[in-house]
Symmetry: C2
Subunit: 200 residues, 2 copies
DNA sequence: ACCTGAACACCGTTCAAGT
DNA sequence: ACCTGAACACCGTTCAAGT
């Protein structure tokens, strides 16, 4: 019995395989050491093959970052109920989901905000980031409607919230929020402080 | 008249020159593309020479990051008066100095929190980061003493403040807080929001 | 003690040539 | 249309050899 075309000359689906291999590598320890040649190696293909699907490394990184923002979008969005009015609990759940995503996928999260991704070519990346940002804005709007949050310019509130979540996530990834430095349960303390700034 | 020993075989002060050259490169556009060989080239020395002063690239990066934290420490500290009690104004000035440092030295700021620096060998880096962190803690303590800030566990307040400043700084560096996305004067809006969370 | 030059094992990227 | 293999210009790092 012959194996199903073990290594056909034309891979057929290489673009997807490259992306999936790269994503798997990002999940690993030291996933931030990202090598195009290693991706090709694992995909069982020559190191020049990916260039038929991505103009350069930056473009692949941009694609991975875009997919990361999409996933972040979905995970934060998934915590929020579909009510027209949002509670503080809902707000906190969304915030925790954001931080959870980042700390669970440190290399990917870093990549999403890395200087190495191709910023010019991929408007898609900006759109994906804006999409994730819009989720925050939406929750804040609905929180204001319910009276749980202070009525303030929503975009400024969203920027402050995003900055706090982003900073907290990165500091956590860097191991710079350890209890001995910052007290126990930093996440709860920080979210409390944030809420007190926004709550009515 | 003879030039003063134009290129002596023994440089004599190479370690400092390497650091200063590296710092100058970090100030440039694309300063984050950091190459040990390019540093050596600019210092007019062979590419192997730096290895007599730094075990590897990580070690140099760690040294640069440490110096960065020292500078950040000084600049934030410089804004705070020497009174035992701190006002909100003082707190805001410190926060703005933090953000100003980061946005004025984007590559250095990124490096200070980069995954590439040698975390194990250099306890100095941790100490420098802790020093900068301590400034925030000090201002918050003195702000609580003056009654300008709510009495809360200081380390948690400091963590929230740090996270917000860190996130804001990085988003600003990434160009992700542009007015069209986030409204005008994001910095003031964010600091206001932060203050409302901490103020009494 | 400090520096050089050649060498090694890696990259990202390109391009003629193969299927 | 898609992939390979060799090639080029770069890295970081090591090490015998020079001063």
């Amino acid at each position: 019995m012959q194996e199903k075309s073990p290594r056909p000359y034309h891979h057929g689906d290489l673009k997807r395989v490259v992306i999936e291999t790269a994503q798997a590598m990002l999940q690993e320890e030291k996933g931030w050491q990202f090598t195009l040649r290693e991706v090709a190696r694992r995909a069982g293909v020559s190191h020049a093959a990916p260039y038929k699907h991505f103009p350069d490394k930056s473009a692949l990184l941009a694609e991975l970052a875009t997919l990361g923002f999409d996933q972040l979008h979905r995970e934060v969005d998934g915590t929020s109920g579909r009510h027209a009015r949002a509670s503080r609990t809902e707000f906190v759940a969304a915030a925790k989901a954001y931080i959870q995503f980042g700390t669970a996928n440190p290399s990917l999260y870093r990549l999403m905000f890395s200087a190495d991704v191709d910023k010019k070519a991929f408007r898609t990346l900006d759109e994906a980031a804006a999409g994730a940002f819009a989720v925050l804005t939406g929750i804040l709007e609905r929180g204001q409607d319910s009276g749980a949050l202070k009525k303030q310019p929503v975009r400024a509130q969203a920027a402050a919230t995003w900055a706090l979540l982003h900073g907290f996530t990165l500091l956590a990834i860097d191991g710079q929020l350890l209890p001995d430095k910052v007290g126990a349960k930093p996440i709860d303390a920080v979210l409390t402080s944030l809420l007190e700034g926004l709550a009515s």
